[in-house]
């Protein structure tokens, strides 16, 4: 059931109805796709101004997204296939069933979205597979039965029977979806937002670039807490230094000529390769560059920086697949790697990954050198056969893999 306090779910449902991707909607309202994702999952509040933009982009009144104005029942039913003209009569004749059905419609749209996201995992995770099969069967049954009721079954006995079926299905759907939500969202939701996560959200929201700095000004940090500001300071200092060493206009041109190869750009601008990688990840979107993501990890494999893009499945919280070149590079410090990589699913994009591990921090005699590894991924659709990399063992369909962590290995 949807609550008034959860506009995220309604935004998501409406977006899916409109056939828009998160990326489409995010770019229409000027935020990053990952920030929209957080809003949709109820992990970030949405302010009134942004909500108004979203409503405009989704072509609905704001009330529909906040759950106000529940004359929306009629609207929802009118949007059903073939319900034109009969919806009003149905709402009048069976007000409580109509309300239940409208709720179910929204639930269905939401579940459909979830189903689409989880398709790949579905085939390989028995718990998910079973639960989603039940969801799909129940949704199919509800959709078909509701449609018969909206058109009128023409016989009181049949109608009573279909009402009973839809009631039973709605109970089952509620139960299965509750179980699914618990399974999917359990551990993550208990995480509170610390300064590092606040900073990560800030970067996702601004798309990991700061136009004010490109124009010689300062970043606007007014939305951040003191801890969040402190956490983002180091990144901003580095950004300024990179922008000064590799001015945008010249770097933009050079990156196209170099085919987004960070080693070539490092040579051209006389900077370390990791600086060229950072600058590539700061290129503006929507002006003909491919999507570019970046990961930096420390020697323990902890992710200290992540700019996510589609196909770059390296979880921030750990448990990443060790086959990603960012980890491979740690065993050969100073040696740049280039690999075409792809997740093990038919739909996953091929990416060109560049990685290099280098020391950082102060040096001292007999001190342990601190190493970090940086990886840039460019969605430039390479044609070579990819190295297969995983989303982490939990969601990975490749069973025969020497790197699997399912059992204790001594």
């Amino acid at each position: 059931m949807l609550h008034r306090s959860q506009p995220g779910k309604r935004i998501r449902a409406r977006r899916l109805e409109q056939g828009l991707s998160q990326k489409d909607l995010a770019s229409a309202i000027g935020i990053s796709a990952s920030y929209l994702n957080l809003i949709e999952h109820g992990r970030r509040r949405i302010g009134a101004a942004l909500l108004a933009d979203v409503a405009q982009a989704l072509e609905v009144p704001v009330g529909r997204l906040t759950g106000a104005g529940d004359a929306a029942v009629l609207q929802v039913l009118q949007e059903r296939d073939g319900a034109e003209g009969t919806a009003e009569a149905f709402v009048e004749g069976f007000p409580s069933w109509a309300a239940a059905m409208a709720d179910q419609d929204q639930q269905i749209a939401e579940l459909k979205g979830r189903v689409t996201e989880l398709t790949d995992r579905m085939a390989h995770d028995p718990i998910l597979s079973g639960a989603l099969h039940q969801v799909l069967s129940t949704v199919t049954s509800i959709r078909s039965t509701a449609s018969i009721l909206v058109e009128g079954a023409g016989d009181a006995e049949w109608e009573a029977r279909f009402h009973q079926n839809i009631h039973a299905d709605s109970l089952r759907l509620a139960e299965v979806s509750q179980a699914l939500v618990t399974y999917l969202e359990g551990p993550d939701d208990s995480l509170s937002v610390g300064p590092a996560e606040e900073a990560a959200i800030f970067l996702d929201r601004c798309g990991h670039r700061v136009p004010e700095i490109e124009a010689g000004g300062e970043a606007d940090l007014s939305s951040l807490s003191a801890g969040g500001k402190a956490a983002v300071q180091g990144w901003l200092r580095q950004y300024k230094a990179d922008a000064a060493a590799m001015p945008l206009e010249r770097f933009d041109r050079a990156s196209r000529v170099a085919g987004y190869d960070p080693a070539a750009l490092a040579a051209e601008f006389s900077v370390p390769m990791v600086a060229a990688m950072r600058r590539l990840a700061q290129l503006p979107s929507g002006v003909g560059h491919p999507d570019i993501g970046m990961v930096i990890c420390d020697a323990a494999g902890a992710i200290v920086y992540l700019k996510p893009i589609d196909g770059l499945a390296v979880p921030r919280a750990g448990g990443a697949c060790p086959l990603w070149p960012v980890f491979e590079a740690l065993s050969q410090p100073g040696r740049p790697l280039r690999r075409v990589v792809s997740l093990p699913t038919a739909e996953a994009p091929r990416l060109t990954a560049y990685a290099c591990a280098t020391p950082y921090g102060p040096v001292g005699y007999d001190a342990v050198p601190l190493m970090q590894s940086a990886m840039l991924v460019v969605a430039d659709a390479p044609t070579q056969l990819p190295h297969v990399v995983g989303p982490g063992c939990g969601g990975c369909p490749v069973q025969e893999c020497a790197a699997r962590r399912d059992e204790i290995r001594l």
Binding site: D81, V115, T119, T140, S144, S147, I148, A153, A346
Partner: protein, 122 residues
Amino acid sequence: MARRVLLIEDEPNIIEAISFILTRDGWTVHTHEDGETAAERVRKLPPDLVILDVMLPGRSGFDILQDLRGNAATKDIPVMMLTARGQAKDREMAMQLGATHFMTKPFSNAEVLENVRALVGA
């Protein structure tokens, strides 16, 4: 004589809804819920069209389809497979094994009618 559809599906409320809309459209609808004995049921009838769910108790829809296509009496009967949305591999497999058409759940009644009419009319 009304043309016959055999619906092989194990979800009772889906069976009821699809049977209702097809019967109302003038079809004679037979239903079967068990995967193990489904192919035999098709041979005994045989129907003008089979609607076959992929996930069935006892035996998968793919195995049943393979059986039907390997038997002279049933190899030409149009088979519409029901698969879960987005399962690209299921769709590929269904078409490879000789399904005439597939529909992804959740489908609409209008789609069911349209496809059934097209498959048997053709």
